[in-house]
Structure formats: structure tokens, C-alpha cells
């Protein structure tokens, strides 16, 4: 490599996806589940999605050049595809290779169409022992081609053998439920799954069936927010749970004595879950109105019920938002607009290292900003400025 290489302007710096102003071009991995391909189209992973803002317009030729490869490999494929079940949702492929090649092959598979590749701990195997990698592919992937290309990219001297099985979409909620245990937030306050007896019948128990929504009380951020509410609520407050998830924070606020708890979320699963959990806790829907809002730029979707939400701006005594750094940064105006002057705003879902950035962003809206932390996660609180 010559010195001039170092000196040259790196085109690739534009490609590094760190908050660049270029449009997001991206991996169709998360969209393959909703599109279907005709048999002649190239492997989905190598066909970038159509993006109206894309500056890389030559993708079709790229796809063509890859397709040539794909087509020739396809005709020599030996996978006796028994994939006749059109209702299948993804492919689980068991691939056998030598232990010494396992790590490289797993990495390579991810570059050639696999969504994931996993294997049991290999420490008891010898280098030449045959081991199994399980790899998940979208239902329309050309598995044989992907495996062949992955193998050749790591210069494997043999062709790994493999079996494909078709897996249906599962009730993922059941996977979530498996790990959910009763959690004590503080003396006298527990969050309990609906299928378990509360360990302490005397304390305030928030009963939850979260489904696919976030918020079981176990995560440090949920705990930090629950502790904040516990400190703040004296009785009669109006609370806004911005990004309600399972509704755990809104429900907790009501149980602690708040008069009204409004929840909003961009995820329909969250709104459904929160509604269900409110009823599990015998909460009248009028005390916990819930809104499904549009995710874009914090503006609520133009629909009658959401106008009702927007009319509540400036009404709340406490706002709690346990989401993620980016939405907290982008939606600062919106979040704060719902609070009365002098209201308390709590923000979480951030790592401790992200707190300074958030503090800077909110310093124009909030006074008396302080931080609480737990296990590397943080919760920022402040008081909305009077004007």
C-alpha cells in the first residue's frame, strides 16, 4: 500500500454510517419477510432496496452481474428443496463443517444472505471434527448459492453439507414471557407476570402481560423510571408516559396515586399491550387513555383521536419517556411541549455514556438537571423552565 492511498480522499468515508447526511440505503434483511421474489430474481441480500433518495443508481447492473453467478450455481445446486410449504416464514439450515472452519464460515454466511449463524460451544471438539452450524435465512433465499459463495469466500476446500428446514412464524411473545419473573422495584412495589402469584400480596403489585411490548419492570431503565415516579407522585398528578410500551409506567403512576395517566407509542403492539394491562390492573380506560402515534418527526397522525392528544399539550405535571437516545434527541420539542411550566420530565432508555449528550440537548428546556444510574443505564430528570 503506497502512501498516496493514505493521502487520498476516502470515498468510503461517505459510506461509514455514522450520522451521515446521506440517505439510508439498506440492507433488505428486515424487509425480506414482507416481500416475495419471483424465482428468477437475484438473491435478495444483494439487491439493495429501492430508495427514492438513493444516489447509487447502478444497482441493477450490479445485481445482474451477481445473478450470472447465482444462476450458474443454482443449476448445480443439490439441495433437494422440499420447501413446498408456501406459508413458511423462514428457513433454518443445519450446515456441517470442520471445527477449524466454523468461525470463519459463520461470519461469511452473514455476508451472503444468512440472517444469523449459531453453534453450540465448541471447546470439546478437535479441529477436524465435524460440527454443526445452524443458520437462519429468509424464506426466499437461495440457500445453496449462499453457502457455496460463503465457503469459497473463505477458501474452503470442501463443500459443506447441509439440510434445510422450514420454520413457521412463532408466537414470539412466548419467548419473551419465559424470562419474565416477578420483580421487586422497591419495598412495597412489585411488577408481577399475570401467570404468577404475587410474592407479596400486601404490596402494590403491577400485574403485566407484556406480549411483544417493552416493559416488564426488570430492565434497569424501567426500574429507574419507576423509582423516579415513586419519588415524585404525591397524589392527583397528570402523568404522560411517552413511549408507553407495556404501559408499566402509566399503570404504576396510577397505582401510586396519580389522577390520570396518558400513554402514547408508535408501535401498535404497545398500545394493545398497554390497554390489556390496564384492564388486568382494574384501571378504567378513562384514567389511562392511550394513543397510537406516527413515528415520523414526533407529529401525531392527523386523526380525530390524536387531535385529542395534541390538545393536552401543557397539561401534564410529570412526563416520563423511556425510549432511546435518537428519538429523545429528535423529539425534545414535542416531549417538553406536553408539560406545564415547572413540570418534571424524566428521560431514560439511555446508556450512561449517552447522558451528557442528552443533557446538552435538553438544557434549553429544563432546569436542575440531575442523573440517576443503574448498571450502566441512566435516567435524566429536570424541571421544565417557567417560560
Amino acid at each position: 500500500m503506497t502512501a498516496s492511498l493514505h493521502g487520498r480522499l476516502s470515498l468510503l468515508k461517505h459510506l461509514i454510517p455514522f450520522k451521515s447526511h446521506h440517505s439510508s440505503l439498506l440492507s433488505p434483511l428486515h424487509t425480506t419477510y414482507s416481500t416475495s421474489l419471483s424465482p428468477d430474481s437475484p438473491p435478495q441480500i444483494l439487491t439493495p432496496p429501492v430508495s427514492t433518495l438513493s444516489r447509487f443508481k447502478t444497482k441493477p447492473s450490479f445485481a445482474r452481474s451477481v445473478q450470472l453467478n447465482g444462476v450458474s450455481a443454482f443449476t448445480s445446486e443439490s439441495d433437494t428443496s422440499s420447501i413446498t410449504d408456501v406459508a413458511s416464514d423462514y428457513l433454518s439450515v443445519n450446515i456441517r463443517c470442520q471445527k477449524q472452519d466454523a468461525e470463519a464460515l459463520s461470519e461469511a454466511l452473514l455476508s451472503f444472505g444468512a440472517c444469523s449463524a449459531y453453534m453450540d460451544d465448541l471447546s470439546d471438539f478437535g479441529d477436524l471434527d465435524e460440527i454443526s452450524i445452524t443458520s437462519i435465512f429468509p424464506q426466499d433465499a437461495r440457500v445453496g448459492t449462499c453457502i457455496t459463495e460463503a465457503a469459497s469466500s473463505i477458501c474452503l476446500e470442501y463443500s459443506p453439507s447441509y439440510d434445510i428446514s422450514v420454520c413457521k412464524q412463532c408466537d414470539w411473545a412466548s419467548y419473551v414471557q419465559e424470562s419474565f419473573q416477578p420483580t421487586k422495584v422497591i419495598d412495597g412495589l412489585w411488577v408481577v407476570p399475570t401467570w404468577t402469584e404475587p410474592p407479596d400480596l400486601q404490596s402494590t403489585n403491577i400485574i403485566l402481560d407484556p406480549g411483544l411490548a417493552f416493559g416488564t419492570g426488570e430492565h434497569p431503565t424501567t426500574k429507574l423510571c419507576l423509582l423516579l415516579l415513586y419519588k415524585l407522585i404525591k397524589g392527583g398528578e397528570h402523568v404522560l408516559d411517552y413511549g408507553t410500551g407495556s404501559g408499566v409506567l402509566g399503570i404504576a403512576a396510577l397505582k401510586m396515586g396519580a389522577a390520570l395517566s396518558v400513554g402514547l407509542d408508535i408501535d401498535p403492539h404497545a398500545v394493545t399491550s398497554a390497554r390489556h394491562n390496564a384492564s388486568l390492573n382494574s384501571i378504567n380506560p378513562s384514567r389511562m387513555p392511550l394513543y397510537l402515534v406516527s413515528g415520523k418527526s414526533g407529529l401525531a397522525s392527523p386523526d380525530a383521536t390524536v387531535d385529542d392528544l395534541v390538545s393536552r399539550k401543557g397539561e401534564f405535571d410529570i412526563i416520563i419517556a423511556n425510549i432511546l437516545l435518537n428519538p429523545l434527541m429528535e423529539l425534545a420539542d414535542d416531549i417538553v411541549s406536553y408539560g406545564k411550566p415547572g413540570s418534571i420530565i424524566g428521560l431514560s432508555g439511555i446508556l450512561s455514556e449517552q447522558a451528557p449528550q442528552l443533557e446538552e440537548r435538553y438544557s434549553k428546556y429544563l432546569d436542575g438537571i440531575s442523573l440517576s444510574e443503574m448498571n450502566g443505564w441512566a435516567c435524566l430528570r429536570g424541571i421544565k423552565k417557567m417560560h
Binding site: 439493495p48 447502478t58 460451544d121 477458501c155 414470539w172 411473545a173 419473551v176 443505564w377
Partner: protein, 155 residues
């Protein structure tokens, strides 16, 4: 898959190594995360929250390679790495023909400079720090060839 593991008492016995590609900020309780983590009884929601928080600095939906170590006690650790090599190559090939003649210019070549730049990004990954730039470049070239991309010295 017959894997009989001896009962070795180690500080934290490893159950499995899981590799996933997940869009930055987009981990959800569904594929590709759920089938893999569910298999080893790992806390799906905790992973999603953690992964999403740690990938806030990437452009949304950039495919991020994650390597998880699942322990036998159902706990886990994970490392977030840069996107897969194929993603960088795809972009490199795209930019190569940004000459404004879409569909007319072949995009099946990339330059050594691209390879080197990709290798530099990859070398920053926690798991490849110990590899030489040369070794990483070789892997990238092999991947490029497998994708039907020709690597030329200069363009």
C-alpha cells in the same frame, strides 16, 4: 446434532456462540433475533433494548454484525461490530459507477483502495484487532470475488 458436552466446572460455562445481523436500532422480538435467542432461552427484550441503545450512533437500519456469547445460566454478553463485508462491497461497487450513467456502466469492479478502506474499518472491530491489514484485505478480496466483483489495482 449430537453435541455431548462434558460437565466442566468453569467460571461461566459457555453454551453457544451466536452470530446475527440486525439493523441498527431495529432489534425486535421477531426474526432474526427471536428464533436464535429463544433457542438458548436468553432474555429477548433485554437484548433488544441493549442492542438498540448501543447502536444509536449508526444510521438507522444499517446492518450491524453482532456476536453473542450465551452462557449456560441463560445470561449473555454481546459485541457489536461493523456491518458485514458484503455490505461495504456493495456500496463500494455502487459508488464506483456513480459516473451518472446508471445501467450503462458495469459495476462489477472495485479497487484495491476500497478494499484497504474497508479493511481499516474492519480492523477496528473488537474481534479482528489482532489480524494484520493484509490478512483482512485477503478475506475481503475473497468475499468480493465470491460476490462476482473483480478487484482491480486502480480505476
Amino acid at each position: 446434532m449430537a453435541t455431548v458436552l462434558k460437565d466442566v466446572v468453569v467460571r461461566r460455562p459457555v453454551a453457544a456462540t451466536l452470530r446475527l445481523t440486525v439493523p441498527a436500532g431495529g432489534a425486535r422480538p421477531g426474526p432474526p433475533v427471536a428464533p436464535v435467542l429463544g433457542q438458548y432461552r436468553l432474555n429477548l427484550m433485554a437484548f433488544c433494548k441493549d442492542f438498540n441503545a448501543r447502536t444509536q450512533k449508526y444510521k438507522p437500519d444499517t446492518p450491524i454484525a453482532v456476536t453473542l456469547t450465551a452462557y449456560k445460566d441463560n445470561t449473555f454478553e454481546f459485541i457489536v461490530k461493523s456491518p458485514p463485508v458484503s455490505w461495504f462491497l456493495k456500496k463500494a461497487a455502487g459508488i464506483e459507477s456513480g459516473s451518472g450513467r446508471p445501467g450503462h456502466v458495469s459495476v462489477s469492479t472495485i479497487s484495491l483502495r476500497h478494499v484497504y478502506e474497508i479493511a481499516k474499518i474492519k480492523q477496528a472491530d473488537p474481534t479482528t484487532k489482532h489480524l494484520s491489514i493484509e490478512a483482512i484485505c485477503k478475506t475481503i478480496i475473497a468475499t468480493a470475488n465470491s460476490m462476482g466483483l473483480e478487484v482491480v489495482k486502480d480505476l
